[in-house]
Amino acid sequence: MSLADILDPFKSWHLPFSQWVQDVLTWVVTNYRPLFQTLKWPFDKLLTAFNLGLNGIPPLVTIVFVGLVAWQIAGWRLALQVAGLLVVVGLLGIWGETMTTLSLVFTAVVFCMIVGIPLGVIAGRSERAAAIYRPILDTMQTIPSFVYLVPVVMLFGIGNVPGVIVTIIFALPPVIRLTALGIRQVPEEVVEAMRAFGATNNQLLFKAQLPLALPSILAGVNQTLMMSLSMVVVASMIAVGGLGQMVLRGIGRLDVGLAATGGIGIVILAVILDRLTQAAMSRRRQFGHVAWYRRGPASVFTTMLRPYSPSATQDWKAAGAELLSQNKGNDYERPA
């Protein structure tokens, strides 16, 4: 054996890692493919429901509805912006594709929340769970998506559902991480106070930790939304329809116009979803402590119904007292 061989032993022999992966995957595919086909079912149902719903509602109805929702959570300014952007989507002639992409993203985010929030809560409460998650989440976020594209196709076939699954793999980590962070950031004193007054673990979670972690959890959902949108083009490589496919086809045919139209659609969708979720996160600060049904378009309905409710007179009295006390400048401490 020459000196060069000793100094570079990896030249003559190395682990047959790629062969191992091949073998494991082949074994899983031959033995468990039916299982994975069954797993598709809930994804398929939800995706179909979203797709039928979003594509079935006439565009104008959708625009008005989304506008009202935006007005409710963030005020009329954002409502106008969001409605305007949706009109642009319609004018570009990509309404159908946008709704297909949206249903894909919604399905992925729903499953990310169902899986991610409980996992995040566990990680937030247990140091050991967090240590186990960390390398897995790092891998999910950094491994190039093309690497798992093929195995997913081998197990689930092609179509929209494997597209959703690929998206979930990529978009799941932020909601887990930010939920865990939110739970950890609940002040130690609050946890101690809850315990001191006899809270069980569940009461501690649902009455203190989750409500206080809510802004952080919503930030996680927002991140998950954005990351699923960024997966749209990659997912379209396994026959997922929508805006991503427009971009992909545009690249394939060197059709810049087609690719740009699809790209703009994705950007507009991202802006709308980001603005709405951001607004949902900060709405507490904006509106103080007014109940949601007492402001925005919902207040129109509650106000209309009010005279018929039995507690209406009491409410008016309370409102009157409130006004009076505000006029007295009650933000200061009362002298004892």
Binding site: E189, E192, A193, A196, F197, G198, T200, L212, Y332
Partner: protein, 350 residues
């Protein structure tokens, strides 16, 4: 609820044990804090503390930060478990309780107030006050009624619909107190409740708390780093340093005869004159008669035994330094205060 007594029997709490620590040998050898840290890499936050809080009294634990006083108070509701020793609450050993029994005990018999209040920011003041009731699943109506009642008790009636961030620091701490009182607990645990407040508000809350606790008669373990606060509120005071209880006694005993150099140093800054009251400076009635000044006492102002020195000085001035009569709880004349008796009392304490 009937007041309970709280007793600590040789309680130790050692943090950061690498399991190999031989607690018995530490206790035997009475290692210092530094030696313990060097030899075993752990900290004895509470080191062999024994004392008893009688039912209905306020016991102040006084010590600087790091003395183990906050750790000590958390042993009562077992937020922290002792390394060794017993904590007897109302005749029962807390360590023998199951987790469920303990939760029940915390919700029903112990109220705790924290230095940083720790209210739930997403709930109204009313819901915060009713927390312990909610945790043990009381009806909404009962929660509401009791919350209003307790808010009135701490002079915050009508603030139930507000949120914690709409309240000032002093008001938040009063909400914290109302929350602790909501379950009508036998025991109040106060962990430096007024330390984070500015001096004027602190003084005001101390007075309110004193009046309230006289009325309610709850056994109170009050943690503070402020000697004046301990003297003002506590029936008994325990001074802690490095996890050890150096001296236990009434305010008079602590200030008058400190039995430890540390306590002495601590007490130096605080004037013992503050402890003077009518009872300690008066001349007994017979003595005043034998001195024979022969002044008529029938029209002289009447004072109670515990009238503090500041008030005595003011009154004496206002009445042209004429004698004032001290009456006992039954209303009978027991002594006389003159300008010279006040001066003599002050002189004795200097």
């Amino acid at each position: 609820m009937k007041a309970h007594s709280v007793e600590f029997k040789d309680v130790w709490k050692v943090f950061g044990t690498g399991s190999k620590l031989d607690l018995a040998s530490v206790q035997r050898n009475d290692l210092s804090k530094a030696a313990l840290l060097e030899k075993y890499g752990c900290v004895a936050a509470v080191a062999g503390v024994s004392f008893k809080v009688e039912a209905g009294e306020i016991f102040c634990v006084m010590g600087l930060s790091g003395s183990g006083k906050s750790t000590l108070v958390r042993h009562v509701n077992r937020l922290i478990k002792p390394s060794s020793g017993q904590i007897i609450v109302g005749g029962e050993d807390i360590n023998q309780k199951s987790e469920n029994e303990m939760r029940e005990l915390r919700a029903r018999t112990m109220g705790m107030v924290f230095q940083n209040v720790a209210l739930l920011p997403h709930r109204t003041v009313r819901d915060n006050v009713a927390l312990s009731l909610e945790l043990r699943k009381a009806s909404v109506r009962q929660r509401r009624e009791i919350a209003e009642e307790k808010l009135e008790l701490v002079q915050l009636a009508g603030w139930g619909d507000r949120y914690p961030d709409q309240l000032s620091g002093g008001m938040k701490q009063r909400v914290g107190l109302a929350r602790a009182l909501a379950a009508d607990p036998a025991i109040l645990l106060m962990d430096e409740p007024f330390s984070a407040l500015d001096p004027l508000i602190r003084r005001e809350l101390q007075d309110q708390f004193k009046a309230l606790s006289t009325k309610l008669g709850k056994t109170t373990l009050f943690i503070t780093h402020d000697l004046d606060e301990a003297v003002r509120l506590g029936h008994h005071i325990g001074v802690m340093k490095d996890g050890k209880m150096l001296q236990i006694g009434s305010a008079d005993e602590i200030l008058g005869s400190p039995n430890d150099p540390y306590v002495e140093k601590f007490v130096q800054g605080s004037s013992r004159l503050k402890l003077l009251k009518a009872e300690t400076v008066m001349l007994p009635l017979e003595e005043f008669r034998t001195v024979g000044q022969g002044q008529p006492l029938a029209d002289a102002p009447r004072l109670r035994l515990d009238t503090p020195i500041e008030e005595l000085l003011g009154l004496s001035n206002r009445h042209g330094n004429t004698p004032m009569v001290v009456v006992d709880d039954g209303g009978a004349d027991v002594g006389v205060i003159t300008a010279s008796s006040i001066l003599r009392g002050v002189h004795e304490r200097l």
